[in-house]
């Protein structure tokens, strides 16, 4: 499991209370190559390389999981809502079709 890919987890609003429903976004740099594009210089087909699954795990519990297909934009963003239920951490795990696995974690710190 690596942390090599650049990514960001954003929570809106930045300050939240326990029980509040916040917007959570996961953004990652990834080519999302469909496998149908050609390299402009070599004219060869660029092999498919796209994120194919994303999981949101909050304090050990999987709250959302996604099956992702190649039609998503390059450097994709995944935004949904999440109910704050205690201090802890949100871990986003994602894989791509070439078998690459990565994760990103963000601390969850409700105020009050």
């Amino acid at each position: 499991m690596s942390n090599a890919r650049k990514s960001l987890i954003k929570i809106k609003p930045k300050r939240y209370k326990d029980g509040e429903i916040v917007k959570v976004s996961f953004m990652v740099m990834h080519p999302m190559a469909t496998g149908m594009g050609k390299d402009k210089k070599t004219k060869k087909i660029i092999p498919a390389k796209y994120i194919n699954s994303v999981k949101f795990v909050y304090n050990g519990k999987e709250i959302t999981h996604m099956t992702v297909w190649e039609s998503l934009s390059v450097n994709p963003v995944f935004t949904t809502y999440m109910k704050i239920n205690g201090k802890g951490k949100l871990t986003v795990t994602y894989t791509d079709n070439t078998g690459e696995m990565n994760e990103k974690t963000k601390k969850i710190k409700p105020r009050g």
């Binding site: 650049k6 954003k10 976004s25 953004m27 990652v28 963003v77």
Partner: protein
């Protein structure tokens, strides 16, 4: 290419412009959707990366010290770039300052046209988010010279089609539609372009700086591409930043 043919070609191209871009105008609802996208701009990742990179060189504090300003004054100072910096005896952009800082710190400086430098430039400029562009083109003779050179570069017809930046971006052409896109107003006062570059370009899926964008435009218009950081490119940036004077900086931008 003979001047006559050059002019004829540019006239032919200009007459192919259509006026009145209503059919391609974005509705208010669509515009709101694109504005919402800025909330989660992929370039935010590059800006965060730039922050990390600057951190290795002393961070905001180190940069302020290098520029000879207090950390409190740093955002407003950044909002005045490109500037004439005495210790370099040159009018420079923020990326060139970063290069100098790296060199003076004993590190081989990053190339101006590199992903890491674009990220660094975006982060540094974002320090000035919320500030109004306050470039002073009359601050000294060097800035005056740079502004004049920038204006000249903007107006000079060159290349296979005899086009100048002004051919497509002057105030009397603005609003016309070329290849389904409304030509943006770059050449007149009140333009906001310098306040929103560096930006994430959706069609390129990458972070692009203003000078890098100039290069792309030059290539498409069949003009010889000027190197980033060259006297003319910095001058162009001075000229266009002056046109955006007073606009509020918001980095990273989000562009087509």
């Amino acid at each position: 290419m003979k001047t006559g043919i050059k002019i004829a070609l540019s006239v032919a191209m200009l007459t192919s412009l259509s006026f009145g871009g209503e059919q391609f105008a974005m509705s208010a609802a669509d515009r709101a959707m694109y504005a919402e996208m800025s909330e989660n701009n992929p370039a935010d990742i590059m800006v965060a990366d730039g922050e990390e990179l600057l951190g290795y060189m002393g961070g905001d504090e180190g940069l302020a010290k290098y520029l000879g300003v207090s950390e409190d004054d740093l955002p407003a100072y950044i909002a005045g770039f490109p500037r004439y910096i005495k210790k370099f005896d040159m009018v420079v952009g923020l990326d060139q300052v970063i290069q100098a800082m790296m060199a003076d710190g004993g590190h081989p400086p990053l190339k101006l046209k590199s992903g890491n430098m674009f990220s660094l430039l975006a982060y540094v400029k974002s320090i000035a988010n919320g500030e109004k562009i306050n470039i002073d083109v009359n601050a000294n003779p060097q800035m005056k010279e740079a502004y004049a050179l920038g204006e000249r570069t903007f107006m000079t017809r060159r290349g296979g089609r005899g086009l100048a930046c002004n051919s497509c971006h002057s105030s009397d052409i603005v609003g016309s539609v070329l290849r389904t896109q409304k030509l943006p107003d770059l050449g007149s006062q009140g333009a906001k372009s310098a306040a929103t570059w560096p930006a994430y370009r959706m069609t390129k899926s990458s972070l692009r700086t203003m000078q890098r964008r100039f290069q792309g435009c030059m290539k498409n218009a069949l003009l010889k591409v000027l190197p980033i950081g060259s006297k003319q490119m910095v001058a162009l940036e001075v000229y266009l930043t002056a046109k955006s004077k007073g606009s509020e900086i918001s980095i990273p931008g989000l562009k087509r």
